[in-house]
C-alpha cells in the first residue's frame, strides 16, 4: 500500500519535473541555449499569482493571467538578452548562453529572495482525502498529475500535428535546412521561449498543489529542470518526459527513506551516474 502511495506521489512530482525538463529541452533544441534561469520563472509565476490573488482576483483567472505574463517576461528576456548570443555559432554560442543565463538566474534569484522573503505559495483544495480500494489519495496530487499530463499531451499534439509545431521540429533538426525551406528560426525561438517559461510557471503552480513554493527555491527548480533534460538526452522531448517521471519516483522513495537533504544528494548522484553511463539520454536517441 505504502509503496503504491509513494509511487503515485512520485509520478505526480515527476510529471511536474517533466514539464520543467521539456522547457529546457525545447529551448536548447532550438537555440542551443541551456537556460540556467529556468527555475526563476517558476518562482516569478507563483509570486505573480499570489499578487493577483491577494488583490481579490478569482483563483483560476489569476493563475491563467500569471502564466501569460510569465511567458511575456520570457519573451522580453529572450529578445533583449539572448539576441547577441544567436549571432555566434557552435561552442562559443553554448558558452555564452551558459554565462548569460547563469548571470541572469543569480540576478533574478537575489532580487526575488530579497524583495519577497516571506512568500509562500500553496493551493489547498476544499476536498478530503479519497479512499480508493484501501489507498488514500490526496485529490490535489491527483489534480496536479491530471493537469500536467494534459499539458504534456497538448504539447505533443502541438509539435506533431500543427504546422508551427512541425516547423519547430525542423529547426531543432537542422537550422540551416529549415531556413532554406523558408522557416524563420528567430520567431520560433521566441515562441518556444515563451512556451517554455509558461510551462515552467505551470510547473510552479502544480508544485503549489503538492507542496509549498518559496522564493528561495528557484535555483533548486533550475537544477531539477536541467537534470531532467540532461538525463533525457538534451534534445529529446520524450526522453525528458520519461526521465522526469523516473526521477520523480526516485525522489519520492529516497526522500521517504533518507530525509530531504540526503535524498537530494542521492538524487544528484543517480543523475551523474545516468549521464556518465548514457550521455545520449535514457531513451538512447543519438542526435
Amino acid at each position: 500500500m505504502l509503496v503504491i502511495e509513494l509511487l503515485l506521489d512520485g509520478i505526480s512530482f515527476g510529471l511536474m519535473l517533466s514539464l520543467l525538463g521539456v522547457g529546457i529541452t525545447l529551448i536548447f533544441g532550438l537555440g542551443e541555449i541551456l537556460n540556467l534561469a529556468h527555475g526563476e520563472f517558476v518562482v516569478i509565476c507563483t509570486i505573480l499569482a499570489l499578487i493577483f490573488m491577494s488583490g481579490g482576483m478569482d483563483v483560476f483567472l489569476s493563475i491563467v493571467l500569471s502564466l501569460v505574463i510569465t511567458g511575456l517576461i520570457g519573451v522580453a528576456f529572450e529578445r533583449l538578452l539572448l539576441f547577441p548570443v544567436y549571432r555566434e555559432r557552435g561552442e562559443v554560442r553554448i558558452l555564452m548562453g551558459i554565462f548569460m543565463t547563469y548571470g541572469l538566474s543569480l540576478a533574478i534569484h537575489s532580487y526575488l529572495v530579497n524583495t519577497f522573503p516571506k512568500v509562500h505559495f500553496s493551493v489547498r483544495l476544499p476536498y478530503r482525502e479519497l479512499i480508493i480500494g484501501g489507498l488514500s489519495v490526496r485529490p490535489s496530487t491527483l489534480l496536479a498529475a491530471i493537469i500536467a499530463t494534459s499539458a504534456l499531451i497538448l504539447l505533443g499534439l502541438f509539435l506533431k500535428r500543427t504546422y508551427v509545431g512541425k516547423a519547430v521540429r525542423t529547426v531543432a533538426q537542422n537550422e540551416v535546412g529549415a531556413q532554406l525551406c523558408g522557416v524563420n528560426p528567430a520567431n520560433l525561438r521566441t515562441l518556444i521561449f515563451a512556451l517554455g517559461t509558461a510551462m515552467a510557471g505551470l510547473a510552479g503552480i502544480l508544485y503549489g498543489l503538492i507542496a509549498t513554493v518559496t522564493a528561495t527555491l528557484g535555483l533548486d527548480f533550475t537544477t531539477f529542470a536541467i537534470i531532467v533534460a540532461i538525463a533525457g538526452g538534451v534534445r529529446s522531448v520524450y526522453g525528458a518526459i520519461v526521465s522526469g517521471i523516473i526521477l520523480g519516483i526516485v525522489h519520492a522513495f529516497s526522500s521517504f527513506f533518507f530525509g530531504a537533504s540526503l535524498s537530494l544528494v542521492i538524487f544528484l548522484i543517480a543523475v551523474i551516474l545516468i549521464v556518465l553511463a548514457r550521455p545520449e539520454g535514457v531513451l538512447g536517441e543519438k542526435s
Binding site: 536548447f28 558558452l95 540576478a107 532580487y111 533548486d220 544528484l268 551523474i272
Partner: protein, 320 residues
C-alpha cells in the same frame, strides 16, 4: 622574455609586500586580505578555465572541501593544522582532477560539464547540511585554533596577509614557470583548437587533468588557510563562482595580469557595494552578462591594444 618577467615579478612582489604598511585601519587590512584571497581564487580559475577551457561551476565546492577538511580533521585526529591544510588541498585536487578526467576522457560537451559541476556544487552544500552533527550544518563551524600561536604583539590580520601573499608569490612563480614551459605551449594549442592540438601530438586529456589538478589544489589550499584566517566557515560562504568568473572575465583569461587586476578591481567594487546588502549578487549577475557581451577580451587585451589605437587615431589626423 625572461628578464622582463623577472622585473615584472619584482614590481608585483614589492607592491604586495609594501601595501599593508601604508594602511593601519583593521577594516582596510581585512579588505586587503580578501583581495589577495580572491586573487588566488581567480588565478586558479584562470588555470582551469582560462588555459584549458574546462567550465567548472563548482569552484565554491572545491574551496569548501579544502576548508572543511582542514577544519574538521585536526578536531578528530589531533594533527596540527599546517599538516592538514595541504591534505585538504590534495583532496580538492583529487576531486577536481577526477571531474576533469571523467569529462575529458568521455568527451562530455560543455553543457554536460556545466550540469555535472553545478550538481557537484549543490551536492557539497547538501552534504554539509545533511551531516549536521559533524559539520555544524547551516549555522556553520567555529574554529578554535590558529595555524600557529599568534603572539599578541603582532597584528593577526598582517600575519595572515603575509601568509596569503607568500602563497600568492609562490603560485605566481609556479604559474610563470608553467606558462613559459612546454606545458604552456600545449595549453595554448588546446585553447585554439583541441582536435588540431591532438593531431600534432598534444595529449589533450593529460594536460586538461594536469591543469584541473593544479587549479583545484590551489583552490583547496587557499580555502584551508581561509578557514583558519576567518575562524568561521558555513556553506553559504562558498557560493563564489559568480564573483570569480566576473573577476576572471573582466581581467582577461589566459594572462597573469588579468586575475591580479580583475580580483583587485572587483574586491574594491564589492566593498563599495556592501551597503547594498544582499543585492550585490544582483549587480554581479548583471555585470557578468554585460562583461560577457561587450568586454569578453578582458582588461589586459584592451590595455595592450590601447597604444595601437592611439597610434591609428593620431595617424589618421596626420593624414588629414
Amino acid at each position: 622574455m625572461r628578464k622582463v618577467n623577472v622585473i615584472q615579478n619584482l614590481i608585483i612582489f614589492t607592491a604586495y609586500i609594501i601595501l599593508p604598511l601604508l594602511l593601519n585601519n583593521p577594516y582596510q587590512l581585512r579588505v586587503l586580505n580578501l583581495l589577495v584571497i580572491f586573487t588566488l581564487f581567480t588565478i586558479s580559475s584562470n588555470i582551469i578555465f582560462g588555459h584549458t577551457r574546462q567550465l567548472f561551476l563548482c569552484h565554491g565546492a572545491l574551496i569548501g572541501v579544502g576548508a572543511y577538511t582542514s577544519a574538521l580533521l585536526p578536531k578528530s585526529l589531533a594533527i596540527p593544522p599546517w599538516v592538514v591544510i595541504p591534505l585538504g588541498a590534495l583532496f580538492s585536487a583529487c576531486i577536481g582532477s577526477s571531474i576533469s578526467a571523467i569529462s575529458s576522457i568521455r568527451r562530455l560537451s560543455i553543457v554536460l560539464m556545466a550540469v555535472l559541476t553545478l550538481s557537484l556544487q549543490i551536492i557539497f552544500g547538501e552534504v554539509i547540511v545533511g551531516f549536521r552533527e559533524i559539520t555544524g550544518g547551516d549555522e556553520g563551524l567555529v574554529l578554535r585554533h590558529d595555524i600557529i600561536q599568534v603572539p599578541s604583539a603582532i597584528n593577526r590580520e598582517i600575519l595572515y596577509y603575509y601568509l596569503f601573499v607568500l602563497l600568492l608569490l609562490v603560485s605566481i612563480i609556479i604559474y610563470n614557470r608553467i606558462v613559459n614551459s612546454h606545458i604552456g605551449v600545449a595549453f595554448k594549442c588546446i585553447v585554439e583548437d583541441e582536435i588540431a592540438a591532438s593531431s600534432v601530438g598534444v595529449n589533450v586529456v593529460k594536460y586538461k587533468i594536469l591543469s584541473a589538478f593544479i587549479g583545484s589544489f590551489l583552490l583547496g589550499l587557499t580555502g584551508g588557510v581561509y578557514a583558519y584566517y576567518n575562524l568561521y566557515i558555513s556553506p553559504s560562504l562558498f557560493n563564489l563562482d559568480l564573483y570569480i568568473l566576473v573577476m576572471l572575465v573582466f581581467g582577461g583569461m589566459g594572462t597573469l595580469a588579468g586575475p591580479l587586476l580583475g580580483a583587485g578591481v572587483f574586491t574594491l567594487v564589492f566593498e563599495l557595494l556592501r551597503p547594498m546588502g544582499p543585492m550585490t549578487t544582483l549587480i554581479f549577475g548583471v555585470l557578468l552578462i554585460i562583461l560577457f557581451l561587450y568586454f569578453r577580451e578582458g582588461l589586459v587585451a584592451w590595455l595592450r591594444r590601447l597604444p595601437t589605437l592611439h597610434r591609428s587615431i593620431s595617424g589618421r589626423t596626420l593624414a588629414k
